[in-house]
């Protein structure tokens, strides 16, 4: 299955606030790419542009699947999801008054996913056993970390080909951070999932990412072809490796 995402010269703004300026990046089939950048720099905005939740002012987002190119900047979110793009949004965005299971089932709303509900559910429960235990609990009453797992699980339910993950480690315990990141890595390996992940936890991110971008004030300032190149970058040193022990 050939899939690639190419973003070219993207501009996006919220009224007066410019969130993206001329951002470009590529994700190839089967890759895990990290998107780094301190808060407010436009990571989420970029993710939202890909998912069709924010309309860019300029630029192209093209998703090529099996040779067919789709211009995502013209498609609605629903159509983008239909193409196999799933997103784990920042802040989880669960349906708090539905049960865990119902949240997962909604993840399978997309037509292509309805056929493989059982298989996907097994994958999710295997990855996050607590979700199986708490199937009938209302999502809104789950703890912060449990909610994060549910959000990832829900995205997996749609049998995605491209997974966009916006800060999966936020609010997770160290154990879970590494587990979650590992899980995403496994998903990438086992299911051949292509992953674009915004993440602050640099050390965790580079465990599974093969390369990464750094975004500052809406501009992609670094496009590193390898993890080492990232580690050697000045900005990374200053922002992520400075105080850390």
């Amino acid at each position: 299955m050939a899939l690639s995402l190419a973003i070219n010269d993207l501009d996006a703004d919220y009224g007066a606030v410019k969130a993206l300026r001329g951002a470009s990046l590529r994700v190839e089939a089967g890759e895990t790419v990290a998107l780094l950048g301190t808060n407010g720099n436009g990571k989420s905005t970029l993710m939202k542009c890909i998912a069709g939740l924010v309309r860019p002012q300029r630029g192209a987002i093209s998703l090529t699947i099996d040779g067919a190119a789709h211009d995502l900047s013209r498609l609605s979110t629903e159509d983008i999801v239909e193409l196999g793009v799933a997103m784990v949004p920042e802040g989880r965005r669960l349906f708090p008054r539905l049960t865990v299971l119902e949240n997962l089932m909604l993840g399978a709303f997309r037509k292509a996913a309805r056929r493989s509900i059982d298989r996907n559910l097994a994958i999710v429960f295997e990855a996050f056993p607590v979700l199986k235990e708490r199937q009938a609990q209302l999502a809104g009453t789950m703890s912060g970390g449990q909610q994060q797992m549910l959000a990832i699980g829900r995205a997996l339910m749609s049998s995605p080909r491209l997974l966009l993950v916006d800060e999966p480690s936020v609010g997770l315990s160290p154990l879970l951070v590494s587990q979650t990141i590992t899980k995403i890595g496994e998903l990438n390996q086992n299911l051949g999932l292509t992953v674009l992940m915004a993440e602050q936890n640099f050390n965790q991110a580079i465990r599974i990412a093969s390369r990464g971008y750094i975004i500052v004030h809406g501009e992609i300032v670094v496009a590193a072809a390898s993890v080492d190149e990232l580690r050697g970058n000045d900005i990374v040193k200053r922002l992520y490796l400075g105080g850390a022990t």
Binding site: V81, E82, R97, F109, L138
Partner: protein, 293 residues
């Protein structure tokens, strides 16, 4: 003077009356309970449906229940249009939709009232059918067939809606849509279309409920005002959006009302049933079957 017979009778009639209240509230349980649309024009649509049923019954001698079924597609479309209007004018623009929506729907209700008056005049109207005006003898108790019809329709609607909302993808999406629209978008569902569809269903249900309304009692153009309190109370007492809960709450209301009506001073009936509602809310602010996080 206490009579066991009367009490039993009151309970039976109360349950059936409650089913009727349930049937006319179910649509609201979807539109308001699930979609958060403050649909105070719900009873006005209900009365409109009754008049449509009346029209078919009067001019083409269609059985009112059949007429109710016949108009559901029309009401479904009406619901689609109504929601579109509400969406374009309120939800799309965001903030404070609920409160202004109330004023909006009051306006819509007034407009519907007047349109009915202009078309049908102010006199009350009713329909004829074999089951109206006769009763089923069950030992000492006589149960009007009208109410049995209400019972059947209400239970059928409740079961159907409950199944639809919990077993189908569309149904689950309807329940999710008021909680987080953008997230629903990420599931590949268009929240606006989902809401529109749900509103269509809520309004279609009104078609049948409107038939019940005019089967149970005659209607007049301003009857809707009497039902604003009742329907909203039922939906709220149930705790927003639970179909089974709506039916149960409605039955509680119906039984309480009937018992007070027969056993104690009839004129106190509304005070008692609404006091009960207040009591329920004071103890369980989320309603009887409400789930709040």
């Amino acid at each position: 003077m206490f009579s066991f017979d009367l009490l039993l009778d009151a309970v039976v009639i109360g349950v059936l009356l409650g089913c009727f209240y349930g049937a006319v509230s179910l649509g609201l349980s979807v539109s308001f309970g699930l979609l958060d649309v403050p649909h105070v024009a719900h009873p006005a649509f209900l009365v409109l449906a009754s008049y449509a049923v009346y029209f078919l019954n009067e001019h083409y001698a269609v059985d009112p229940l059949v007429a109710g079924l016949l108009i559901t597609p029309v009401f479904f479309l009406l619901g689609l249009v109504a929601y579109r209007l509400y969406y374009e004018t309120f939800e799309k623009r965001g903030s404070d939709a609920a409160v202004r929506g109330i004023a909006f729907f009051f306006g819509v209700a007034f407009i519907i009232e007047v349109l009915i008056i202009l078309q049908f005049g102010v006199d009350q109207r009713s329909v004829t059918a074999d089951y109206i005006g006769r009763a089923w003898r069950l030992g000492d108790i006589r149960i009007p067939y009208r109410l049995l019809v209400a019972f059947a329709v209400a239970t059928a609607l409740t079961v159907l809606l409950t199944l639809y909302l919990s077993r189908t993808f569309m149904g689950r999406a309807i329940r999710a849509v008021a909680q987080d629209q953008e997230a629903l978008r990420l599931m590949g569902a268009n929240p606006i279309k989902i809401k529109q569809w749900a509103f269509g269903i809520a309004t279609a249900v009104l078609g049948i409920a409107g038939a019940l309304l005019i089967i149970v009692a005659p209607v007049d153009p301003t009857l809707d005002r009497a039902y604003i309190g009742r329907t909203f109370c039922v939906v709220v007492m149930a705790g927003l959006g639970s179909m089974g809960g709506t039916l149960v709450a409605a039955i509680i209301l119906g039984v309480a009302e009937t018992i007070v009506l027969t056993m104690f001073g009839a004129s106190w009936a509304p005070a008692i049933s609404f006091a009960m509602l207040l009591g329920v809310l004071a103890v369980r602010p989320q309603g009887l079957f409400g789930r709040r996080s």
